[in-house]
Symmetry: C2
Subunit: 121 residues, 2 copies
Amino acid sequence: MSKLLELDDVTAPVCCAPLSDSDLGEDEAAELATVFKALADPIRLRLLNMIASAEDGEACVCDLTVPFDLTAPTISHHLKVLRQAGLIDGERRGTWVYYRVIPERLTRLSGLFALPALAPA
Amino acid sequence: MSKLLELDDVTAPVCCAPLSDSDLGEDEAAELATVFKALADPIRLRLLNMIASAEDGEACVCDLTVPFDLTAPTISHHLKVLRQAGLIDGERRGTWVYYRVIPERLTRLSGLFALPALAPA
């Protein structure tokens, strides 16, 4: 889609099985660890939240800097980390870059933690 | 339940709203970042997978060391990180500690990434 998407170009779509129902391979574990490393930062989580909850499904970088007492380059760095983890994608239109989440990736993470059948206590 | 549960005792149950549908506060973002930091390691992900997929819903630490070329203290460290993040709980019975996932925590993470209504393309 966009040239900004990096890691997702390299890593093929992988299994969506929940942690409770599958045998996580070394490669998948390594790739997921990269995604969680991207999520292991409060600023990036809030940025992802702003993008995921944005009206029209996308957020202008011009709005993403507002709530934070951080420089634009710092925000850009955090957005780059999210993008490299395949969580968001960005598209430049005119002056600004507009970001949206990659639904497949969020859905996969949601499925990863799903507990389809809880064992009886 | 068990004395081994640490972080979860401190952090009160928090909101389960999906990222796409809520305004993530600073405190919740900081707490979630801690959880994702615990998940940002391939060994810990595989350990969590083994525990989550264990028959009877629990895994003996004696079995968790088998697939890894790591020392028992290293595995114990990783299990401690998962426990402190509130993802698993452990109970000592006799010689061994038995681990199980904390379903509420996994369900919360699953819900966090849920996309209840995808925006039209």
